[in-house]
Structure formats: structure tokens, C-alpha cells
Symmetry: D2
Subunit: 346 residues, 4 copies
């Protein structure tokens, strides 16, 4: 059989599909500018479609009469794929680097609660050689009665922490109407797990011109995470850090199930750096160090952990924040392991 | 033992917890204005906390040293709970009613694609006795390369469909900056599954003064759905329709797993009407009628289904839309079953 | 392009696969007596394999260098598939029928606890027009400290209940060494959810010559359930009742998530009858009636429910058994709905 | 309030529970020899039950009228719990040790396919310093048409591999009727994931007098895994190796989701050694090394990996077996990491 070009899509027609139904699919492909190669058979007819990947992905062929399966041959993402960009991306934030051998150690409180708590944590993170400071100003909370963050007041505190320690800031953007305020205070825009498919927010983050830390939704597949990153990169911003933070499964002995396998899968699929949040997956602070170590050993480009001077008085995620007093020892352990894995803390 | 008031929270201290650790929990409870009743024991000490439910829910006691478990006795939601509001809510939209015996049959295309497709579907829905017309103007799509909806053009088409058929309109709000435009065109604001925990959007929807159709997130628990509704009601808008539309599980023979058990659970827990979207759960049109019937039999207050004049040419969800030509028969079957269940199509 | 026969398998080779790697796959297919049709291309080469379905299914082609995906075109099951046996199977047990319009109402206690409890329940089930009596003699329990069933004593009690009421008996087989004893007492052999992939037990059940009620495992896919049934039918026993009883998901407001969508999917895929166990899915008795009704409306061929004279004193599953006193009303409600769906209680 | 002993169970009665309903629960507790402490209140009455843990666990109080929740304070397992046996168990198999600082590196083919394949792999495992040889004689397969293992012939080949290399053997027991044959050939009895709740098999394994490698079921919770181990230990055999091998979730980019968090949770809960099977979780050989490293870093006491001289010709699990030629480098990497974690390969 002669070379026929490689199909992007295979459409399997059911055994009982009529010739007209096959023709209808073929002419729909033609409308979309795609070539169709039909292999008829006894039990099923297979149509190979060759054309522009984006156009084919958008074509709703499953709905056609007689179509049994539509099998994508190529991945639906382009800009984020390692296939198209083989070299690993290094993200440089004010001289701190993450990706391709540079390991990011991002730490800080779950939420900015008051000035002293934040500055004290920032000093501990800086002293232990951390890469960036995290801290929430706007907090998405399951309950409307829970602490929702200090908002603009928190942004000012974070700016002060940056001024004092030199640590770049990571904070979450929840509302497209906050873009300006958040951009003034932050060096990296975090898009939280609950907003991973808030597509208008992703587009805003993409247009903002600063690196984006994109957290995987608790029920998002690896492919959906990559498609969400594609939304950001499509706006012209290729500086995206992907963050695995645990998925929701039936198991309840941890808060979420850290999908450790997603790390090597993502490293194969994309050129973007992949970091891990062990705190939200663990839900209990004694589980954070083993999960953080596992992330490093599995090949992550960094971790983001919650640290608090007095976790028992924290206003959110109290049970999973590491006490600031223990952070230096934790950082040393991570550094030793990262070094064995051939990584340098950036 | 004398009556001690009924605790909202039980805090179980580990066997090895010290007296100081118990005291610390008790004084934290006192700070929050709560009474503590301590039952010390050999293997575990149990502290019962009595106070304001909202304050206790926000208290991060899991983080305290010596605390093994925090067991909530009462549910975290208030305004939406049937416990506090025993009578079922009826939502009236321009004379169409849903809830407490009134069954809503909401139908229409996944997306508004062009004028004729939408008007034709609206006429079919109206003729078959449908309650409202659904249709997406802004479409959240996994891929940035897929059809994203016609936006304001779609809103104008929906307004025309309403003018012609009298059917109230349901359309999705995706961005808080679209509130005004969407409010002009719609009678019910839909908040989609991906935005169920987009809390700034929920608050906007709550303040908008129109009924809200709130879809359950694909990995949201029933409790989280109720907490999301609590965000809306807290803004003063008690006209919320809860919508079960399938959750993400390991099973792939349907697009999502319709959580049929959530219907009777929600009917017990809340006074709000509960409707079901069988189309998104099914993912294949031949499965929509059995899932729709199951929803009615399980006690739902309505269904919302996708209907399209030519599903095979739909720009989104092509495989799961019911052909408009089959809608009348479908509606008749649903009506017969609703009637057996003691419901009237509103 | 000429007809080339319809492939059972498509093997997608990665863009970087060498000619030798393609040749190796082709020669492995030839060894297995299969024809290979190679469509080379720029981004991927696709190999279509045509041959015996069983042989191809057993071929581990994913392991070959250069292979990116193996896409099965045909389903892996044969004997149970509706494709090969279009007519629905009716299972006749001592004159009681299930399948193809005959609806089975199977009821009885979770476990046989003592003679009076069982006989009393059997009388109630018979009086309400039930089809068969269920009751566990050997109970699989998560805890070794929980009640494990009365064993042979229970089998004798079930035999007595059958003698008195004429109801055929359904009881669970847990151990291949119990086959003889269980066969003497039962009319239908139940294989429980935990043993759905206990393949030696499935083969024993297949050889025993009595109908088999096969429960879906809590994390088994619909396809795996059908493959488990294939194990039974392969031994020459085509009288298999498939039973959906809830799958394990993240949701905890019900004991399991009843996969209501599995019912219409199974009805499309297989000629075997499909029944539903609402009791184990619900976990709470007030949820059993709505789930049972949903099962009927979704097209199930029967239900199997737990009934107990005094649920609060039951030794297992106490919270989900329906009180015997309420069974008649329950049965009447199910009968009315089954009748609307065109089914007769067999 | 005076010390009242520490309750094993808390029973929360609903707000509307009557005094008689409370009394009924209390007298049921008394029947079971337990003390009840009643704390009545406005919204809920809480009953604390103090008595024998096993008896209370078996008491089906959820079924009682008026009972809203039953909250266990203590864990349901005893013999396997670290609470009762604080020192970590070391399992010695012919001089090879696993647990408490000794790391087990178990490797070998998925299935014994023929003599040379097995002996060649055994030599590679021995040369690289492996702890034991794994190899399946009886293979549980989803499809009845797939290779089911060589059975007794395989057992003889494994015995020969042990004689030549001195490596202890791990092989799976699938059927209680095979106990004798398997015991002759193996040093460690494996109970597979599909049989984790095959309780008659667990009891046989417990009575057999050899160490048991117990794999977690794909949808078993950590607690259920521990309860399954309790079944084995209850028969007098405390030499149980627990094995995490991936759970079933919605994510499909790996074959299963390795529950890396289960390792530190199990290390806290039980004194038994915890090992990890990265091969079955990964499903693709390029993912096995990162998952194996993650397991070591998370604190596992060993790993069990699949190795084959020619994976592409393997009769099962072809895509996930490591080529024998790469095993030595893999073992060296694991050894370095285990050493950093303070473990010695036993």
C-alpha cells in the first residue's frame, strides 16, 4: 500500500453504517479542508483524516450517523508540546530560575494573615535559600463563612516582604477585575485549581506578561491541564509553570491523592517546567516531607509548600502548613535529594 | 450526666495528647465564643464545642498539636438547608414554575450557532410544552481551538426566540464582566460546572436578582454544591436551581457518571429545586432518554436537555444532542412519567 | 482505495519509529496469523491488523519499540455481546422469568440470621409477588471481627423457605470448595462484587449448571463486567444475570454511586439481562425506593433489594434494609413503574 | 466534668430523635457489654460508647431509628496497628530482610513463560543484588482468551531458579485448592490486587506459615488494605508485606494512579513493611524508574518490579516490563537513593 500521509484522526464507522453515511463523513472532512482515506471492511470501515490538527479537533464527528468511534492520533495541544518544542523551558523570575536542571523551592503561608506572620515567614524562606515567596491575598474557600483573604492589604504586605528579602512573589489571581492590583504586587500569577478551566481568567493571565503558575484542577486530566496551559501560551505568554497538587479520588487518608505519575508523564509531553504542591495533597503536615521528597525523586522541577510561624493559629489550611522553625531542616533535605537528581536550587 | 447543650463539633484528642494541648484547644474555643465540654479518657479525650456554627466551621482546629480528628456534627450550610427551611422552594420564572410538584422541562441547543437553528429549536420546544429555552452564548471549551460561542450576537438571537415563543431563557454567565449583557437577555443565569467554585462569579450571580441555575462541578461533592449555592443565597438571592450533570469517575462508557443518588440526597438536605442534565452525563444521544427517565423517577424537579435541528452539524456536543424531530415524543414520555410521580410540567 | 478487510486493531507507530520497528510489528502480526495493512505518513504510521479477535487481543503489541498506541476497533467480548446474539436472553428459574419484558423483583435479608427472620421475610416477599428470595449464607465482610454468615445452617434455612413459599433462592458462593453445598440449596448462584474477578470462582460458577447472578465490582468498568461474564459463558453457561450495584467514587453522601448509565449501556452491548441492587448503592434505606425507581425507568430487567423484619437488629447492612412491613407498598410502586415501562413482573 | 473513660464510638442522634430512640441505642450497647454516656442537647444528642472495640465495630447502630451518624473514634484494626505494636516488623526470608531499615528489591518477570526466560532474568536479578525473584505461575487476566500462566510447570521452573541463584521466590496464589503446590515452590505467597478481599484465600494464606505479600486492591482504601492484612494476621501469621500498586482513578495517562501518599500513611498506621509495585501503576516502562524512585523517597521498605529479557515478546504486561539489560543500572540508581534515605538493600 502506498504512503497516504499520516492521519490526525481515525473515524471508525459501525458495521451497519451505510455507504451514504460514509460519504457524509468524507464530505464533512472535505468541507474542513481535510483529506479522507477510506478503508472499508466486513466489520467496520475506517476513515483516516489528514488535515489541520486544530480544525479536525474542533470537528464534532462523533455526532454523525454511523460513526462508532473517533480516535485521535495526535495530541490536541501544540504550543505546550515537547514534540514541537523539544528543549525544556527555563523560567527566569528576577534571576531565580526554574526548569531544565534548576529546581524551584517556593514557600510561604497559605494566606497572608497579617504583616508579622508574612515577614517572619519570608525571612525564614530567604534564609533557607528558598526561590520565591508564596502567599494568598484572595482565598477561594468552600464556605462563604470562612476567611476569604485580606485582598489589597495582603498585596501591600507581600510587596514589603519582597522589598525586604528580595524573594519574588507568587500570589493567586481569582477575578479578572483584580488583574491590575495583583500584577503590581506579584512576580508570578497563580491560577488556582478551582479556576484551571476558568478560560477568561486564563486568557487574562496569558496577556498579563508575567509568568503563570497554573495549578491542576482536582479532577482535571493531564491532557486538560495541558490544554489549559495552551490557553495561556496562545495569548503569547510561554512562561507557564505547571503544578500538580493532588487529584480527587475515593481515598480519604490524604486530603487529595498526589498524582506522582503525572510528573514523568508531563516531563515527556511538555517543555514547560513541572512543580508539585505537596501541602494540599497531604492535608497533614507530617505527610508533607515524604510527598515533597517523592516529587523531587520523580523528576519535578520544583515544589511549592505552605509554611507558617504558628500553624495552629493559621486562618486556613492549619493542619498542613509546616512550622517555620522546621523549614530550614526541610529545605536541607530537599536540597540533598535534588542534588542527587542532578538539580540545583535556582 | 446532665444536659450539656448539643455540640456543633467534636474534637478527638489523641491518646498521647497532654493536658496543655487539651487546654490550648479549650482556650481557642473560648476565644471564638464557644463552650467546651471535655470528656477525658484512657485512649482519647473528646471535646464537644458548642457555639455559633459559622464561627466554629471557620476554626482550623485540625492544626492544633494533639488533635486527632475534628468531627462536625452539624452540616456547614444554613440558608440552603431544609433543616432551617422545611418547605420546598418553588421558583417562578415569568409564570413557569419549578419545584414542589412543578416539573421543569428545559431544552435547547448546546450553543446558539445561528438564528435559524435557535429559532427552529425554540419553536419545537414550545410546541412540545417545554418550560424554558436553553442555549449557550459563551461556551467554556477544553480546547482554545474549539468554537467559543457567538457571544453578544447569541444573546440577541435568544432574545428574539423569547419574543417569538414566550419561553424564558437560560444562558450561561462565564465572566463577571459580562453580567450586564447577559442579564439583559436571560431570565435564568446559568453557572456552569467548571465555574461552580468560581466564588466571585457566584457572588455576582447572587446579586443579579434573577434565578440562578447552578451546575454541579464534575468533582464536587454534594456538600460542596450546597456550599456553592450558599454563596449565591447569602447575597440575598434564594432562587437557585441545583443541577446534577454527572461526575467524573473511572468509568468511560458514558461521558460522565450521572450521580442519580444525589437527587434524593439533595431533596432531603435542601429546600431548593433539583434538576438533572442527562445530556452531558450521557455524552451519546441514545442514552439521554433512559437517563432523563431515571432522573424523573428518582424525584428530580426538572431536566435540562440539549436539542438541535441537525445534531451532526452542531459545533459542540454533537453526539449528545437530541434531534429536534424527536423532541415531541421524548417530551411525551417524560410527561407520562412525571405524572406517575405526581408532578406537573410547570 | 480498494476494500482491505476491516481491521480489529490499529497500531499507531510514533513519528520517530524506524522502518525496522514497523517491520517487527508486522512480522509479529504475521506470526499470529494476522494480516497487516501499513499506512505510513509524516507524523505517524498506522498499521491495521486483520485476524482472529481473540488472538489479537492477547498480543502485547504495546510493548514493541516504536509503538505509540494500540487502538482496539472491536470489543474484546464475544459470547456475551449483542452484536453476535441480537435477541435478548430470558432466564427462566423454576418458571420465574427475567429478561426481554419480564422484570425480576428479588428480595430478602442481607444475611440469613435465624430461621424466623428468614421465613418471615420470605412470606412477605412471596405475598407481595416477588420473583425470588435472596439471603446470604457466607458473608464477605471487610472486618474479620464482623458477622461472617451462618454457612451451612443458613443454606438449610433457605431450603426450608423455598419449600414453604415456592420462591427460587439466590445465595452467594464465595469459595470454590463450597460449590456442592451451595448448589444443593440455591437456584441462582450469586458471585459477589469482591469476587467479580476471582476467575477460578467464575469458572466454577460457569460449570455448575445453574443461573449465575454476577455483581459488578466496585471499581470494575462495564467492559470488565462483560469480560467476567464471558468467563462464565465460556464454560457453557449462558444464563448470566448482570447486576449493577454502585461503583466507588469520590462522593460519600451515598455508600456507593449507582452507575445508572451502565444500564442502558449494558442493554446495548449485551443480550444478557441487567438487574440493579439499589440497597448496596444507597447504604441508607430512605434512598432505596428512589434508586429502585430510577433503575426501572432506566430500563433494568429487575432489582434485588434487602428486606428485613427488624432492620435495626440486623447483623449486617442494618442501615440499608427495607423493613418487611413496608415491602408490599414498595413492590406496588415498582410494579406500576415497570408496567409503564412495558415490563411484567416475572 | 469527671473522667468518663474514652469512648470507642460516638453515636449522634438527630435533633428529632425521641427519648425512646435514645434508650433503644443505650440498651443495645448494654447488650453488647458497652457503657453509654449520653450528652443530650438542643440540636443533637451524642452518645459515647465504651467497650470492646471488636464488638462495637460489629454493632450495626446506623440502622437504628433516630441515629444520624456513627463516628468511630478508634481504628477498626488491632493486630496490624502501630498503636498496639510500635516497633517496625522485619520480615526475614531465608536471610533476606525487609522492614525497619532493610530495603527489599524484588524483581522478575510478570509471568513465567518458559525456562530460559525465567532463569536468565533470575541471574540478572541476582547479579544486580536483588532481594527476591518474582514470577507468576497462575495469572489472573481480565480476558478469558489471554495467557493464563503455566501453572505447575511454572512452579517447577521457579524452584529451579531458586536452586541456581539462591533468590527466595514470590509467586501468586489464586485458588485455595492450589495452596499445597504453591507452598512447595514459593518462599513468599503473593495475594493479588483482585483477591485482596477474597477472604477465604486470605485465611488460607494466613494459615500457610509463610510470609504473605498482600497487594492493595485497585479500589481498596488504605483502611481496607489494613483490614485485609488483619484477616491474615488473625490466623497467626504476622509476616505480611503490604504492597501499594496503584489505584483506579479518572486519570488515564498512567495505567493506575500510584497512591504515593499511602506509603507515609501506612508507615504511621502499621508496623508491617510497606513495598511498592511501580510497574503495574506505570503501565509503561519509561515511567517505572521515576515511580520507583518516588517510592523510595516517600519511605517505602522495598519495591517489586517487572523485568523481562525481551519485553516486546512478553505474553503479559509487555509494555511495562523493564528490559533485563537495563536492570543493573536501575538497581544502582535505587540503591543510591535508598542509601540517602538510610536504607540498606536486604
Amino acid at each position: 500500500m502506498a504512503a497516504v500521509g499520516s492521519p490526525e484522526l481515525l473515524i471508525v464507522m459501525s458495521a451497519s453504517a451505510t455507504g451514504e453515511q460514509v460519504d457524509e463523513v468524507v464530505s464533512r472532512l472535505a468541507e474542513a479542508g481535510a483529506d479522507a482515506h477510506v478503508s472499508p471492511g466486513k466489520d467496520a470501515t475506517v476513515i483516516g483524516a489528514i488535515g489541520e490538527r486544530d480544525l479536525l479537533a474542533a470537528l464534532p464527528l462523533e455526532g454523525f450517523p454511523g460513526v462508532e468511534q473517533v480516535l485521535p492520533i495526535l495530541k490536541p495541544y501544540k504550543l505546550v508540546s515537547r514534540e514541537l518544542t523539544p528543549d525544556s523551558t527555563v523560567i527566569d523570575v528576577n534571576g531565580r530560575r526554574i526548569g531544565d536542571g534548576y529546581f524551584g523551592l517556593i514557600a510561604g503561608p497559605c494566606a497572608v494573615e497579617h504583616r508579622e506572620q508574612t515577614l517572619e515567614t519570608a525571612r525564614v524562606v530567604a534564609a533557607a535559600g528558598g526561590t520565591m515567596l508564596r502567599g494568598g491575598a484572595y482565598k477561594p474557600r468552600t464556605s462563604p463563612y470562612a476567611f476569604q483573604g485580606l485582598g489589597e492589604e495582603a498585596l501591600a504586605i507581600l510587596a514589603e516582604a519582597r522589598a525586604e528579602t528580595g524573594l519574588p512573589i507568587v500570589t493567586e489571581l481569582m477575578d479578572p477585575r483584580h488583574v491590575e492590583a495583583v500584577l503590581d504586587a506579584t512576580d508570578v500569577i497563580q491560577v488556582g485549581a478551582r479556576n484551571m478551566q476558568n478560560f477568561t481568567l486564563l486568557a487574562e493571565a496569558g496577556r498579563a506578561g508575567k509568568p503563570v503558575l497554573l495549578k491542576r484542577g482536582i479532577s482535571a486530566s493531564v491532557e486538560e491541564l495541558l490544554m489549559a496551559a495552551e490557553y495561556v501560551v496562545k495569548e503569547g505568554n510561554a512562561r507557564v509553570l505547571l503544578c500538580e497538587r493532588g487529584i480527587r479520588t475515593f481515598e480519604r487518608s490524604t486530603r487529595f491523592t498526589l498524582d506522582i505519575g503525572a510528573i514523568p508523564v508531563l516531563k515527556l509531553e511538555t517543555h514547560l517546567p513541572v512543580i508539585v504542591d505537596p501541602s494540599h495533597a497531604a492535608g497533614r503536615r507530617e505527610l508533607v516531607p515524604p510527598l515533597a521528597r517523592a516529587a523531587v525523586a520523580a523528576g519535578a522541577d520544583g515544589i511549592i509548600v505552605e509554611v507558617h510561624p504558628e500553624p495552629e493559629h493559621a486562618l486556613s489550611d492549619a493542619s498542613q502548613q509546616i512550622p517555620a522553625a522546621e523549614f530550614e531542616a526541610f529545605a536541607a533535605e530537599i536540597r540533598a535529594l535534588a542534588s542527587l537528581m542532578g538539580r540545583t536550587i535556582g
